[in-house]
Each structure stands twice: as structure tokens, then as C-alpha cells.
Amino acid sequence: MRFGRMLIAAALATGLTATANADPVALSFWYPVDVGGGLTKVVDGLIADFNKAHPDIKVTAVYTGNYDVTLQKIQAGKLAGALPDIAVTEISSVPVLAALGAAQPLDKLIAGSGGATFLDKFWPSMLLNCRYDGKVYGIPFQRSTPVLYYNRDAFSEVALDPNRPPETGDEMVADAQKLTKREGDRVTRWGVELPLEAFNWFYYALVYENGGESLSADGTHVLWDQPKDVGALQYWYDLVNKYKVTPAYTPWNDGPQEFVAGRAAIIWHSTGSQSFMRQHVQFHWGLGRLPKNVQFGPPSGGANMMLYDTDPAKQKAAWTLMTWLSDAPQAARWSAATGYLATSMAAWDEPEMQALIKEHPEVLVTKEQLKDAKAEPASPNYAPARDILNGLIKAVLANKEPLEDGVKQATAEANGAMAK
């Protein structure tokens, strides 16, 4: 009996040492940096803590440029057989990487972690950009939505309530008309600016606010010629050409600068720009939700984590990392450090986030928006359509193309490009 127990003890002891001596599973975690320096340190810190807490896994964090170059690296990796274990990529790349067969579906792993209960911890709006072909491919990691920044002092100046940013599209027009200042025919302050970038975020925002969709559910054709979409573009056109409260084109990066310089009383921009504002704005400012028309409809932005391993043992280890990173404490830590939105609802109750909210209560506005956020349109062949839309918006707003015809032509062109 004692001998038997000794044997068992010995077996257990060797078993334990055997596990302790097994080489840790090596994983690579590719991440882009889209919000300036300093982020690499935060990532390194997170990964170091993970490695300490999980001695059987060793993760190496690899900086991979911006979103574009990260995609290129993954594409090259797919062709050469040099894929990472996990990579963070912009949300509209989910269908592309899934269709290419580079990214792996996560449903089995999710089932093993509690299935629907696991997914429930995330903001439902964030999950909208995580699926393709009925399967889950992405886990939210660094997410954002657009938000409205407004100049409180300017509001007071024109007898508007400085604590009440516009809530509807009509209100925004009315406010902007009061806020726009002119000297002769030169505008010294625009009422509102909607900067434009390659992803056409604010077009989608306007379409959603109108209750419409811009991409068909199966992702094969665009809906820009539908009445609700046309109405959205018409609203933007009117802001520029009828009410003349918005310039025809504001480059994305100029938005915050225009706001800081007092040349725009209201701008729409990423939640990620908050720290820039805090650093540079010299007047009283506030955050508001993007106004609604029929509904509130801020589109989603940012990046998800996706898995590339096919080996089950590696998948398991990678999944441990992915779940750890999306646990409330880590999500809160990442959000507080970067300005991205905390991906799980519980994360907002973590001490870091609570401290942030206490110091900057306007952050709660961004949390409110997550309840109504919508998907960013995405499908395997969407990229050329995105560029066509960009060209269309620029041309219509600048009056280089008539709205109705332009929309018809662009829709046809985009549908053709997506079919290739």
C-alpha cells in the first residue's frame, strides 16, 4: 500500500517535472500600429505579463507597420507558408483573409470556452465585423467608432447651449448655420466638418442614420443607388452646397488640427483622437454622439485579432492568448493606454476604466455609442468598391459630378469590380 502510494507520488513527480521541462509553445503575435509611437511599449508590456502568467507559452510580439503593410505581410506569408499564429488586422479584412484561407474559423475554440456565453461578453456591435460565411473569424481587439467633437466656447458665443451637442441631423444643420463665421466670402470658421479618409466612414454613418445599408447582406453588390443611401449623400451635399456650413473636402488628418485651430466648431472624428484633443485644445470642448436621423448609426472601426494556426496544439495556445487579451482587465488596460474602446462590457467597470471615466466623463459618450454601432461594410472583393465610393463622394461634394448620375454610375462600376 505504501509502496503503491510511493509509486503514484513518484509518477506524479516525474509527470510534473516533465511538464515543467517541456518547451513552451512559441507563438508570434503580429500587430500594426495605427496610432503613433508609444504603443509598442504597451504591447510589449502586455505580452510580457502574459508570458509570465503562462510559462508553457512564449509569445513574441512583432510590429508589422500600418494596416496595409500588415496585410501585405500576411498575404506574402500565405503564399510562402510563413503565416503568424495571431495577427491584428483592420476589421474589413476579416472576409478577405477568411476567404483566402489564411485565417481560421474560431467556432470550435469558442464552443470550448463557453460558446454563446463567451461571445456575450463583447459588445454585440463589435461582433458584427467578426463573422464571415456564418463562422466567427475575428475577436475584437482595438476598436473605435466615430464621435462628434464640439467647441463649447463657440456654442456659447452664438447663444447655443454649450452642454447640448446636436442630436439630430436637422439640429446639426441649424447649429452649424449659426456657428459658421465669414469674413466677406472667406469662411473663417466652418460650422461642421466631416473629414474623409479611404474607408469612407462618415458616408456609412450618414447612411445608417438614414436607416439604410450600403452593402448587400451577401456582400456581392452595393446599395448606393437605393433611396436611403442617396438621401444620405444628398444630406452631405446639402451641408456643403446648400447650407454652406461644411467644406467640400477635409483630409482626414486635418480634422483634429482644424478643430484645435478653431477653424471648425464641430468635427466628426475617431474616438481615438481624444488624447490629441486633450493635449492640444485650448478651449472648452465636448463629445457628443453622431446625430441621428431615423436612428443612431455610428459605424465600427479598428482591428480584430485573427488566428492563422492549423495545428491543434498551437491553436489551443493561441486561443489562450486571445482570450486573455480580451479578458476585462487586459481590455481595460489596452483601452486606457491607447484610446481604443474597451471591447468587453465588463471591462468598462475595471479600475483603469473607472479612473478614466472619473477624470474624463465625456468618455461615457463613446460607451453609449457602442450600443448603437453598426458594422463596417466588408466582403472579400470590397476594396475596389471602397475606392470608387471615395471618388464618388469627393466628386459629388465638389460639384464635379451630379449626384443622381454619379451614384448610378459608381454603383454599376463598383458592382462590376466586385464581380471579378
Binding site: 508570434s28 503580429w30 500600429v33 495605427d34 496610432v35 503613433g36 509611437g37 508609444g38 504603443l39 509598442t40 513574441t60 512583432v62 510590429y63 508589422t64 507597420g65 500600418n66 494596416y67 503593410v69 501585405q72 505581410k73 506574402a76 503564399l79 510562402a80 507558408g81 510563413a82 503568424p84 473605435s144 488628418n253 483634429p256 488640427q257 484645435v260 485651430a261 478653431g262 477653424r263 475617431s270 481615438g272 483622437s273 488624447s275 490629441f276 493635449q279 492640444h280 472601426g301 484610446g339
Partner: protein
């Protein structure tokens, strides 16, 4: 009169060019010294309100510049060495020797000049993976083992050396590779230096290739550190980006400044009066 006009035109060109080049450079320098609050002003501010030396420290700490520096020096030096060896040998053969297939080789060199990296990178990436060289110094160096540009440039220079010199050298029993080493290279020094400077800049500033083929931070090079300061979604920290740019561009400029004497018309004759 015509001479004066010609001279004036020439010097006017120089001054205008200098102004057009100096202005952005000045702006870069000044931005590196400004605190970030002074970058985004309604009208351009030519002088910093206060000098923010911190920018350099912040920039240096923003990425592992120390390590990247060492890697950049090592990788660039290795590439230059390989290119000098292979290009000089090939240029020598192309310029000073007749052999069957010479035309074909020249044709191949010119053709290779034309193929840009956006075209070659995918196949080369796959090749490196086959060799198991991804994520190593070999990946950074091997694809640049030779330079079509250098071969071409040096061929031109070697062609210009008169046969009389080679004949004279042969009498002194200096032929073949010894001739290359003792005569051709010294006589073509300006060209060699020009080539080195051009290749140095190209590989020192290469951002895309090192980013694609390396993952480990330990072997990465300077431009990758620089890229970490650029933002797409929110506004870039310009002052830090400019400060970091000075780290990357500075050394090469110093090298250029110091090697200038190889370009000045000196009193070295071309050897004809020996």
C-alpha cells in the same frame, strides 16, 4: 554680355534650388525642436517658441533605435561589400574583356536594373522561405548581393580608361584582377564613391523589405523604428517623427559631407602624362 547672362542664369538656378531644398529641411529641423503644441498652428511658425530637447529623448525611447542603428550599419556595410565585389568583377569583365556572351550579360544587367521591388518582393519572399532564411540577416542581405546599377555605372567608368594604360600596365606584369585593383579602381574613384553613396542611401533607408522579411526586433533596422511614429487613424506626433528622422538621415549626410573631396576637381591627372 552673353557670358554674364549665362553665369547669372546658372547662379540663379543654384539659389532658387537651394531655397526650395532648404525650406523643407529647415522646417524638418525646426519641427524636431518644437513642442507638440506649436506644430498645429493656424499660420506657419518659423521659429520655435521654446526648444524642446526632450523630443530627441522621447523619439529615441519610442523605439529601439540603439539596436536598429547597429543593425543598419552592419547590414548596409555587408550589402555594400558584397555589391562592390560582385559589381566590380562583373564591370571589369564587361568593360575590359571580350568574351562570347558579353552582349547577353550586358543585356541582362540592364534588364535587371528595371525590375522594381514591388515586382520582385513576393517571389523573393518565397525563395527566402525555401532557404529557411526568413527572419535572419541573410534575408536582409542576400537579395542585394549584387547591384545592376553599380555594375552598369562601373562599366562606364572602366570603359573610359584608355587602352594605353592597360598596355603599359601589362608591361609591368600587372594584368587581370591586379590591373583592376591597382589601376581601374583608383582611376575610377569618383564613380566608386558615387556608387557607394547611392547604394548606401538606398539600403539605409529601406523600410519595406526589412519590415516584410523580419519579425524579430533584434535584427531590424532604423527605418522600421521611424515608421512606428506614423499614424493613420489619428494625427501623427510630427515633432517626434521629425526628430526620429534626424536620427535616420543624419549619419548618411555626415558621410556625404565627409566624402565630398572625392568629387571635387582635384589636381589628380588621369594618368596620361605618366
Amino acid at each position: 554680355m552673353k557670358r554674364a547672362v549665362g553665369r547669372v542664369a546658372l547662379y540663379a538656378t543654384v539659389l532658387i534650388a537651394a531655397a526650395l531644398v532648404a525650406m523643407p529641411m529647415y522646417w524638418l529641423l525646426v519641427s524636431a525642436l518644437k513642442p507638440s503644441t506649436e506644430i498645429f498652428t493656424a499660420t506657419p511658425r518659423w521659429l520655435p517658441g521654446r526648444i524642446e530637447w526632450r523630443n530627441f529623448r522621447d523619439a529615441w525611447e519610442g523605439a529601439a533605435f540603439g539596436r536598429y542603428f547597429i543593425n543598419s550599419i552592419g547590414v548596409t556595410a555587408a550589402i555594400l561589400l558584397l555589391q562592390l565585389v560582385t559589381s566590380n568583377l562583373a564591370a571589369f569583365a564587361l568593360a575590359r574583356r571580350r568574351f562570347a556572351g558579353r552582349g547577353f550579360v550586358l543585356f541582362a544587367v540592364i534588364g535587371a536594373l528595371i525590375i522594381p521591388i514591388q515586382v520582385t518582393f513576393l517571389a523573393n519572399f518565397i525563395t527566402l522561405q525555401h532557404f529557411g532564411w526568413l527572419d535572419s540577416y541573410a534575408a536582409l542581405i542576400a537579395p542585394f548581393a549584387t547591384s545592376a546599377f553599380g555594375t552598369f555605372l562601373l562599366r562606364q567608368a572602366f570603359l573610359a580608361v584608355p587602352d594605353a594604360i592597360e598596355d603599359a600596365a601589362r608591361l609591368d606584369r600587372c594584368t587581370g584582377l591586379a590591373f583592376l585593383w591597382h589601376f581601374l579602381l583608383p582611376l575610377s574613384r569618383p564613380t566608386v564613391v558615387a556608387f557607394v553613396l547611392v547604394a548606401l542611401v538606398a539600403h539605409w533607408n529601406d523600410y519595406f523589405w526589412p519590415l516584410i522579411v523580419t519579425n524579430r526586433d533584434e535584427i531590424r533596422t532604423l527605418p522600421i523604428g521611424l515608421a512606428m511614429f506614423v499614424s493613420q487613424e489619428v494625427t501623427t506626433d510630427w515633432n517626434l517623427l521629425m526628430a526620429a528622422t534626424l536620427f535616420v538621415a543624419g549619419p548618411v549626410l555626415v558621410v556625404f559631407f565627409l566624402t565630398q573631396r572625392y568629387f571635387i576637381r582635384s589636381h589628380v591627372n588621369t594618368g596620361l602624362k605618366r
